[in-house]
């Protein structure tokens, strides 16, 4: 249950060093040009960092299923907002197709 599991100080420092290392990694990758992959890479690293913070600093790993669901729900709804907004902007250049050829 939440609050009953005490995370050890050692683990906190482990996460801390991981976060610092990932920060350096994302900085380092940003200095190189990977074309279209720079941004996805940076976001993936940010995602891992955020997951570390949520799981260990925010104790989500040791929390009830309900809390985990709530932690997930916010990001899920954010994804809805982003995906459904971008689907408009991404498909604007496409011409609507005919369902059957016009005579």
């Amino acid at each position: 249950m939440s609050g009953h599991h005490i995370v050890s100080v050692k683990l906190y420092f482990g996460v801390f060093f991981a976060l610092c290392a990932l920060t350096f990694l994302t900085y380092w990758t940003a200095l190189h040009d990977y074309g279209a992959f720079n941004t996805p890479l940076a976001l993936a690293i940010a995602g891992v960092k955020a997951a570390l913070v949520i799981l260990f600093f925010m104790h989500a790993k040791y929390s009830s299923k309900l809390t985990q669901l709530f932690a997930f729900a916010g990001f899920f709804w954010l994804a809805i907002l982003l995906v459904f907004t971008l689907q408009d902007f991404m498909t604007r250049d496409l011409l609507p197709f005919y369902f059957w050829p016009k005579a």
């Binding site: 609050g3 801390f16 610092c20 900085y27 976001l43 009830s64 709530f70 916010g74 907002l81 907004t85």
Partner: protein, 230 residues
Amino acid sequence: MSDHAHSTYGLVHHFDDLEQQKETGTLGMWSFLITEVLFFGGLFGAYAVYRSQFPDAFQVASAQLKVGLGAINTIVLICSSVTMALGVHAAQKGSKNGIILGLIGTLVFGAAFLVVKYFEYKEKWDHGLIPGYHFNSHGTFDSLHAGPAQMYFALYFVMTGMHAFHMVIGMILMFWLIAKARKNYFREGHYALIENFGLYWHFVDIVWIFLFPLLYLVGAHSGAGGAHHG
């Protein structure tokens, strides 16, 4: 689960026991964080749309930021998260001094972050990069990029400004929590307040974890402008 060593210290009238009270507070905080995710989410949505429409302008505009400062601030904020986590750890262990130490550490790192942010903002101000009628008054951007670059800086200031605002709120709350901790308020397992505040502070950290690559690193490899520190 509430064991008998626990008194009813801190129990508010409408709860049955401390266990229920604590879980309620935690769930309330997580619900609040959902609203925070979506609050920033609107900004990330706007960012995603305009970044996809003006990739070049965003790259050029982003190159105006000092990546080094952003990276330092990232580390500073991670440190503040660790001290916060240690403060909560101390609360769980029932160490009054540990709580105060953790909070003060968090406060110091938070302040350091804002100081760095202040210098960044001031530099933007000096270079005429504040969105509005006087944007680009120093001619930093050619006319091709000025429009979308202004939108980039509008997003930059609103996103980092909202983030900084959340930090200021958090720091004000920390003074209050430190005062409470000094009065030995957080005892007998009654430390939900510290824990929930910790959740808030870590969330603020997470926002920055995403802001850093999205705002600072876009133009880092292009070499345009003052992208490199030092």
